[in-house]
C-alpha cells in the first residue's frame, strides 16, 4: 500500500513548490509546461524539477481552490490546460511569501551571526 511521496518533496522544502507555482501564476494564466519552464528559468536552473511532479502539485492546489483550471489553446495552437490564480490563492501567496521571508531571515541570522 505504500506509495505517494513525490520525488520533489524530498528535494524541496515542503510547500515551496506550491508557493513557486502560485508566484508564477501571479503574472497571468499559464499551462503546466509554461509553469515548469518558468520555475526552472526563474531560478536560473538551480531548481531542477522533474516536470511530471508539477502535476500532482497543481491538482492539490486546485483542490484547495487556490488556483482554477480551464482548457485553452497554447501559443502554438495546441490544446492545453490553463491554470489561473484565484483571490484565495492570491491571499495564500501573500501569506506564504511573508512566512518564507521570515524563515529565510531567521536562518540567515543563525548562519551569519557576527556580521554586525
Amino acid at each position: 500500500m505504500a506509495r505517494r511521496e513525490s520525488p520533489l518533496h524530498s528535494e524541496m522544502v515542503q510547500g515551496t513548490l506550491d508557493m513557486l507555482i502560485l508566484q508564477t501564476l501571479l503574472l497571468g494564466p499559464a499551462h503546466g509546461h509554461t509553469i515548469a519552464h518558468a520555475i526552472e528559468r526563474g531560478s536560473e536552473d538551480v531548481l531542477q524539477v522533474e516536470h511530471g511532479s508539477l502535476y500532482p502539485a497543481l491538482h492539490r492546489l486546485e483542490g484547495r481552490d487556490w488556483i482554477a483550471s480551464f482548457w485553452g489553446t497554447s501559443e502554438n495552437n495546441r490544446r492545453a490546460r490553463y491554470y489561473r490564480l484565484t483571490p484565495e490563492g492570491r491571499r495564500q501567496l501573500a501569506a506564504d511569501t511573508a512566512r518564507w521571508e521570515q524563515l529565510v531571515r531567521a536562518i540567515g541570522r543563525i548562519l551569519k551571526p557576527a556580521t554586525e
Partner: protein, 897 residues
C-alpha cells in the same frame, strides 16, 4: 476529501492523461525547435516528465479514499471467490438464511408484543387497575386479583387526584336482531371514562358520553369499524339510526376507527355500562379497570392515591344486607396498578423471551458452523494466502479481505433471512397458535430489518474473524514449503475447529435440554385429569336470554328445560346440560365464602373464597365429570326450588373428610340469613382455571332457585354455556341442528362462542404447546448443526490424514482400530460439549422455571436422555467418515502424493 472528485475520479484521470499528453507534445515541439530529431526529442521529453503512470496514480490517489476504493475491489474479489466456490456459498447462505430468518421472525414477534408501545395516544400513561386482597383466603385460586366493584369504580373515578380518566369495562356477547337472522356480536360494555382513558377519537360521530350511562336515559351504542362496514357498508348516515341489541333498540352515536381494538378484544359494538348508582353496594368485584395517569404521575403515586380511597369506599357504600362492612377490612384490599401493556401481554411474555433466547443460541450455533466451514475453506486456500503474503500483501490487508468476504456472506444471508423471516411470520399469523396478543402489531418493520441487518453484519464479523485471526500471515514458509503434504498436521491446526465443534455440541445440549424439559412438561400436562372427558365430543355454545326477551324467571327455566330437551332430541346427542360458565374459558366467575353446618374453622375469621358455578341437570354427564357420591340435580329439584347444593370433591374432603360423608350435610352461603342447603352430590375436581392450575374448590348451585344474593327470590340463570355431548360435535350439520333447536324455542336467541371442549382444552395448553414447538424446532436445528459440526471435523481430519492412514494400513493396522480411533475422537468432542453444555444448561434452565409444569429445571432424566442422544449422534457423525477413510486402499492413499 473532495466528494465530487471522488465520484468523477475516472473522468479526472482521463483529463490528466490528456494534460500530460499535451505537455509531451509541447516539450517535443520545443526540443525539435532546438534542433533535435523527433525520436531524441520524444526521449528527452519523456525524461523531463518522468513516469506518467506514477503521476496519474498519485493524482488518482488524491481523488479517492484509499480504503473505500480498495473495499470496492475487495468486494468484487470476494464475490468472485464466493461464486467460484458455489457449494460452500450455498451451504453457508442456507444456514445463515435459516438462522437469521428464525431470529428475525421471533424478534418481530417479541418486538410487536413486548417492545413496541401500545397503539393508543401516549400509551405510557395507560394502566390497568385491580386490587390485591391478601386477607381474602382462596381468592387467588378462584379469580386471581380482586377486580373492581361498581361502587369502587365510582369512588375511584370521582375522588382520585392522579388520573385523567378511569373507567371499568366488561366484554361479552350481545344479540342483534332485526337486521337479518339474530346475530351474536362481540360486545364491550364500558363505563364513563373508559374511552376517554384510551383516547382514540371516533371515526365518525361521538363517544358514549356521561348522559348515555344513565340507566333510564336514552339507549345508545357505538359501533366497531368492521361491524359498521359489514352491516352498514360504511355509511356515515348510520349515525342516529337505531339497532336492536339484546331486544332493546339503541341509537348509534359513533363509530370507532379502523384498527381500533379494545385491548385484546375485537368489538362489534360498544355499549354503556349503565350502572344504577343508587342501588349499588360494596361487593360485586367483577369489573376490569383501565385508567390514564395524569402527565408526570408515577404508578406508585397513583397507588398511594387510590390506597387512601379504599377506606372512603368502605364507608361510602352499603354492604349486602346483614353483612358487617368491616369484613372488607380483613381482606386488606390495596390497589394494584400496572402498565396496561403488561396486562395485555399476560403470561406469554416469559415464554417469548425464552424462545427469543433459544433462537439466539441457534444463531450462535449457526455462526460456529459457518466459522467451521470458513476454516476448512481457508485451509484449502493456505497456499494462495501464503503466495500473496510472500508477494507483499500485508497481514491487515488479508484480514480485511477475509472479513469483507464473510461480511458479504453475512449480508446476503441476512437478505435471505429477511425473506425466510417474512414467510415464517405469515405462517405464524395465519396459524396464530397461542392467540398471541397484539397480533396486528406484529410485522416485519424498520426495527426488524435493522435487527436482521445488525445480526448479519455482526455474525459476518464473528465467523469471519476466527479464520482471519488464525490464518492471516501465519506460517508462510511452512505453507509454501510443504502445503501440509509432507507431514501430518499438528494438533495446533485443529484446535480452532475442535473448540468450535465442542461449543456447538454444548449449545445444542442447552437447547435440547430446554426442548426436553418442555416435552416432559407437556407429558405431565397430558397426564392431568382435567375433570372432564371426551373433550372432542363436547360441543359448547353460549346463549343469553335477556330480560327484554323473557322477563319472568319461571318462564326462563321452562325455556331452558325446553332447549335441553330439544337439543337432546338431535340424533346422536348423548347428554345435554348447561352451566354459568364452562371450564378453562376465563369467563367471568362468581365466588364467595360458604359455611358448613357445625364447622366453624378454628382461627378463621374469614372463611376462604370458593368458586361458584350454577349448573343445570345433565351438565356433569354432558361434560363427563364423574359423580363421586350422592346424585346430581333433577329438573324436579329445580322446579321445586329445593334447598339442595352440590360440591366438588376437594371441598367435600376439606369440610367432611371424605366425599361420601358430605352427602346429607348442610351448607350455606356466608351471607347472613342464608338458608342451609343440603349437599346431594359430590363430583370430581375440575381444573377450572387451566390444566396447569390447581383445581379450585367449587360450589355447584342449581341454575334455578332461591338466590340469596338477589334478596332470596326465585332466580334463573340467563347467560349460560351449553355442553352437548355428541360424536358429531363441531360439524357444520350438527351446529345447524343446534341453531334450529334453539330457535324453535325462541327465534330471537342467538348462539355464540361455538367451540368444542377440545379446542378449549388445547387452548389452555397453547402456551406450552407453542413453547414446545418453538424449542423443538430450535433444538432440532441445533442437533443437526452439532452433528454436522462433528461430522465436518472428523471427515476433514480423515481426509488430511489419508497418507497416514495409508501407511498404518500398509503396516497392518486393522480397520476396526482405525474406526475406533476416529470415533473416539468424535466422542471426545461430544463429551467435552456435553459436559460444558450440561453445566451451562443447569445455570440457564432456572429462567424456564415459569414455563415448566411439575418438572424440575434439573430433571435428571432429561439431562441423561439428551446426553445419550448427543453421544449417539456423535458416534454416527464420526463413524461415517471414519468408515470411508478406513476402507481406503493403502496403495491408492500413498499414490495420491
Amino acid at each position: 476529501m473532495h466528494w465530487p472528485r471522488f465520484f468523477a475520479r475516472v473522468k479526472w484521470d482521463r483529463e490528466r492523461r490528456e494534460e500530460l499528453e499535451s505537455y509531451m507534445e509541447m516539450e517535443i515541439d520545443d526540443n525539435v525547435a532546438r534542433g533535435m530529431s523527433l525520436d531524441d526529442a520524444r526521449a528527452a521529453a519523456q525524461r523531463k516528465l518522468g513516469n506518467r503512470t506514477l503521476i496519474r496514480e498519485e493524482i488518482y490517489g488524491m481523488n479517492t479514499i484509499e480504503f473505500l476504493d480498495s473495499l470496492i475491489r475487495d468486494i468484487r474479489f470476494g464475490l468472485r471467490a464466493l461464486r467460484r466456490n458455489s457449494t460452500f456459498t450455498a451451504v453457508t447462505l442456507l444456514t445463515l438464511g435459516v438462522g437469521i430468518g428464525a431470529n428475525t421472525a421471533v424478534f418481530s414477534v417479541v418486538n410487536g408484543i413486548l417492545l413496541k408501545p401500545l397503539s393508543y395516544p401516549k400509551p405510557e400513561r395507560l394502566v390497568s387497575v385491580a386490587n390485591s386482597a391478601p386477607g381474602a383466603a382462596g381468592l387467588a385460586s378462584v379469580s386471581g386479583d380482586l377486580k373492581l366493584s361498581a361502587s369502587m369504580y365510582f369512588t375511584y373515578a370521582d375522588q382520585n387526584r392522579t388520573f385523567d380518566a378511569l373507567g371499568v369495562w366488561n366484554s361479552s356477547g350481545a344479540t342483534v336482531t332485526g337486521l337479518s337472522e339474530p346475530e351474536q356480536v362481540r360486545a364491550v360494555y364500558v363505563s364513563d371514562g373508559t374511552l376517554e382513558a384510551l383516547g382514540v377519537p371516533p371515526e365518525t360521530g361521538r363517544w358514549l358520553a356521561g348522559e348515555d350511562q344513565k340507566p333510564d336515559g336514552a339507549a345508545r351504542v357505538m359501533l366497531g369499524y368492521g361491524y359498521w362496514q359489514r352491516r352498514f357498508g360504511g355509511d356515515r348516515s348510520a349515525i342516529g339510526r337505531n339497532i336492536t341489541i339484546n331486544a332493546k333498540p339503541r341509537e348509534i352515536v359513533g363509530v370507532m376507527p379502523r384498527g381500533f381494538r379494545f385491548l385484546n378484544n375485537e368489538s362489534d359494538v360498544i355499549l354503556p355500562m349503565g350502572f344504577n348508582r343508587s342501588g349499588l353496594r360494596l361487593p360485586g368485584f367483577g369489573y376490569d379497570c383501565i385508567a390514564r395517569l395524569k402527565p408526570g404521575v408515577t404508578i406508585s403515586e397513583a397507588s398511594a392515591d387510590l390506597a387512601t380511597l379504599v377506606p372512603v369506599w368502605m364507608s361510602s357504600w352499603p354492604a349486602a344486607p346483614g353483612v358487617n362492612p368491616r369484613v372488607y377490612e380483613n381482606w386488606r384490599i390495596a390497589p394494584l396498578i400496572q402498565p396496561l401493556k403488561k396486562e395485555m401481554v399476560g403470561g406469554i411474555g416469559n415464554a417469548l423471551w425464552v424462545v427469543m433466547g433459544t433462537i439466539g443460541v441457534v444463531m450462535l450455533i449457526v455462526c460456529a458452523n459457518v466459522a467451521n466451514l470458513m476454516l476448512v475453506r481457508c485451509e484449502s486456500r493456505q497456499q494462495e494466502l501464503a503466495v500473496r503474503t510472500a508477494l507483499g500483501a500485508g497481514r491487515a490487508r488479508i484480514v480485511r479481505e477475509m472479513l469483507v468476504e464473510s461480511g458479504i456472506l453475512g449480508i446476503l444471508g441476512g437478505a435471505l433471512g429477511l425473506a425466510v423471516g417474512w414467510g415464517a411470520l405469515q405462517l405464524l399469523a395465519a396459524l396464530n397458535p397461542v392467540s398471541l396478543p397484539r397480533l396486528d402489531d406484529i410485522s416485519i418493520d424498520g426495527a426488524s430489518i435493522l435487527f436482521a441487518l445488525a445480526l448479519s453484519i455482526f455474525s459476518g464479523m464473528f465467523f469471519g474473524s476466527i479464520p482471519a485471526w488464525k490464518y492471516a500471515g501465519s506460517g508462510i514458509s511452512m505453507a509454501l514449503r510443504g502445503g501440509g503434504r509432507t507431514s501430518s498436521q499438528s494438533r495446533e491446526r485443529h484446535r480452532a475447529r475442535n473448540i468450535l465443534a465442542v461449543i456447538q455440541v454444548a449449545l445444542a445440549m442447552v437447547l435440547l435440554v430446554s426442548a426436553g424439559l418442555m416435552i416432559r412438561t407437556f407429558q405431565e400436562l397430558r397426564k392431568v385429569q382435567p375433570g372432564f372427558s371426551g373433550a372432542e365430543q363436547i360441543q359448547n355454545v353460549r346463549i343469553g336470554i335477556p330480560e327484554a326477551v323473557e322477563p319472568s324467571a319461571d318462564r326462563v327455566v321452562r325455556m331452558e328445560n325446553d332447549m335441553v330437551e330439544r337439543l337432546a332430541a338431535i340424533p346422536g346427542v348423548k347428554a345435554v346440560g348447561f352451566a354459568s360458565e364452562s371450564p378453562m374459558q376465563n369467563e367471568g366467575v362468581d365466588w364467595d365464602a360458604v359455611n358448613a353446618e357445625g364447622k366453624v374453622a378454628p382461627g378463621q375469621d374469614i372463611p376462604p373464597m370458593r368458586l361458584f358455578r350454577y349448573v343445570s341437570p345433565g351438565v356433569f354427564q354432558a361434560e363427563g365429570t364423574r359423580l363421586i357420591a350422592g346424585r346430581a340435580y333433577e329438573w324436579t329439584d329445580l322446579y321445586g326450588a329445593r334447598p339442595y347444593v352440590m360440591v366438588s370433591e376437594n371441598l367435600a374432603r376439606e369440610f367432611w373428610g371424605e366425599p361420601r360423608a358430605a352427602v346429607g350435610k348442610r351448607l350455606a352461603a356466608s351471607l347472613p340469613g342464608s338458608p342451609w342447603r343440603e349437599v346431594i352430590g359430590v363430583v370430581e375436581d375440575v381444573r377450572y382455571n387451566g390444566v396447569d392450575q390447581p383445581a379450585p374448590a367449587i360450589v355447584y348451585w342449581p341454575s334455578y332457585g332461591d338466590n340469596i344474593y338477589r334478596g332470596n327470590v326465585r332466580d334463573a340463570l340467563r347467560s349460560m354455556t351449553f355442553a352437548i355431548r355428541s360424536d358429531r360435535a363441531g360439524t357444520e350439520g350438527f351446529l345447524n341442528q343446534v341453531d334450529q333447536a334453539i330457535w324453535a324455542v325462541n327465534p330471537n336467541l342467538a348462539v355464540a362462542s361455538v367451540r368444542t371442549m377440545q379446542e378449549v382444552y388445547s387452548k389452555s395448553m397453547a402456551r406450552s404447546t407453542f413453547t414446545l414447538v418453538m424449542l423443538g424446532i430450535a433444538g432440532g436445528i441445533a442437533l443437526l448443526l452439532g452433528i454436522i459440526g462433528i461430522y465436518g471435523v472428523i471427515s476433514y481430519t480423515a481426509s488430511q490424514r489419508i497418507r497416514e492412514i495409508g501407511i498404518r494400513l500398509a503396516l497392518g493396522a486393522q480397520q476396526g482400530e482405525l474406526l475406533k480411533m476416529f470415533v473416539r475422537q468424535g466422542l471426545m468432542l461430544a463429551a467435552g460439549g456435553v459436559a460444558c453444555g450440561a453445566i451451562a444448561a443447569m445455570m440457564v434452565m432456572r429462567l424456564m422455571k415459569g414455563l415448566l409444569f411439575e418438572i424440575s429445571p434439573l430433571d435428571p432424566q432429561t439431562y441423561v436422555a439428551v446426553a445419550l442422544v448427543l453421544a449417539a449422534s456423535a458416534c454416527l457423525a464420526s463413524y461415517l467418515p471414519a468408515r470411508r477413510a478406513s476402507q481406503i486402499d493403502p496403495v491408492e492413499a500413498l499414490r495420491t502424493e
